[in-house]
């Protein structure tokens, strides 16, 4: 099975029932599968912080939302993570592609790419690294953990997941 389909199936089999997304070239395949299958509610957002607001509202109304986005969007999300999600204890799953890591060819992606692990740490977002098909199953653990602890959780999809660098 290809990686995007495997990612999709794992998300589908978790409790996630709403996806809010902004595109990234690394997420192109996954977003295409989400659209084609049309089984999980999916809403395009205009900015990551907006997605956090929608996700928070959807959770309050009983949904299990995930935000699919590029790691660069974490910078746009800092205040909403602290003063909405963590303040009220609202679990939201961040499924992030990690641009600016190993094998990155675009110079502009590198500063935020380098900062991302430290920033997640500083934000106290426990993050699961997914860099091979074998650990895609971490998504399931991340969702369970986020829901039981009531705090946002991250999943960082590495470039290596889609093949050699």
């Amino acid at each position: 099975m290809n990686v995007d389909l495997l990612l999709y199936k794992t998300i589908k089999n978790s409790k996630i029932d709403l996806i809010l997304s902004l595109p990234c070239i690394m997420l192109k395949g996954l977003l295409q599968v989400i659209e084609e299958k049309n089984e999980i509610d999916h809403i395009s957002i205009t900015r990551e912080e907006e997605g956090i607001g929608i996700a928070a509202g959807a959770y309050l109304g009983g949904k299990v939302p995930a935000i699919v986005m590029q790691n660069s969007g974490l910078g746009n999300s800092v205040n909403a993570i602290k003063s909405l999600l963590q303040l009220y204890r609202i679990p939201v799953i961040f499924i992030m592609s990690h641009r600016g890591g190993e094998g990155e060819k675009i110079l502009a992606q590198i500063p935020m790419g380098k900062l991302t692990p430290d920033l997640l740490d500083l934000l106290k977002i426990e993050t699961f690294i997914v860099d091979s098909e074998r650990n895609i199953k971490h998504i399931q653990t991340a969702v369970e953990q986020s829901l039981s602890s009531g705090i946002p959780t991250g999943i960082l999809l590495k470039k290596k997941l889609w093949g050699s660098l």
């Binding site: 957002i45 907006e50 607001g53 928070a56 509202g57 959770y59 309050l60 109304g61 003063s83």
Partner: protein, 184 residues
């Protein structure tokens, strides 16, 4: 009319509706005028009121969701207007109380006090129902008539905050009673 008067009128009409309210003075005023379990008071994340309300509207399609937002806060999250208008929930009313000022921080002017018209931006974003209210007496009449749909309502007021007490709940209490009240 000030924000406090506008919120008072809105709460005179409100019944089963879910209400999400902007951070700062608006939430404090709402708390003091009419506290209810179905009020979600924002304590942080300025600008996200319409997004939170939209998320609730998706999750609760059978419930009407109203959102009280300010002009300064909406200017921080204009993309939300596109997202809401394109997804068009039929249970969503965004009520922007436009006093042309950042009311909670000392009434510094916002751009809506100059050239910017939020109703024109909302129309451009794709909202089909747009109403501007200038008179306090019209608030109840107009809100009553709206019914199902995805509505943008702007109430023009002058700046100024009422002297009211702080919200007596902590964030988790606000969340828990709110979730419980809308869970069935």
């Amino acid at each position: 009319m000030k924000r406090f008067d506008a919120i008072k009128r809105i709460t005179e009409l409100i019944d089963n509706e879910i209400l999400v309210c902007n951070i700062g003075a608006p939430s404090r005023e709402l708390f003091n005028i009419k506290d209810r379990d179905r009020n979600f008071y924002m304590l942080g994340s300025m600008g996200l009121a319409s997004s939170i309300a939209f998320g609730i509207a998706i999750a609760k399609p059978d419930r009407n969701v109203w959102c009280i937002e300010g002009d300064g806060a909406l200017l921080m999250n204009l993309g939300s207007l596109s997202t809401v208008a394109n997804n068009q929930p039929d249970n969503f009313t965004l009520i922007v109380i436009d006093n042309g000022a950042y009311g909670s921080t000392g009434n510094q002017k916002t751009y809506t006090s100059q050239k910017t018209k939020l109703e024109t931006i909302a129309e451009g974003a794709g909202f089909e129902s747009i109403t501007v209210i200038n008179n306090e007496d019209d608030i109840i009449l107009i809100l009553k008539k709206l019914g199902k749909g995805c509505h943008f309502v702007k109430i023009n007021t002058s700046p100024g905050n009422a002297q009211v007490e702080n919200i007596q709940f902590n964030p988790e209490e606000i969340k828990e009673r709110f979730m419980k009240s809308i869970s069935n």
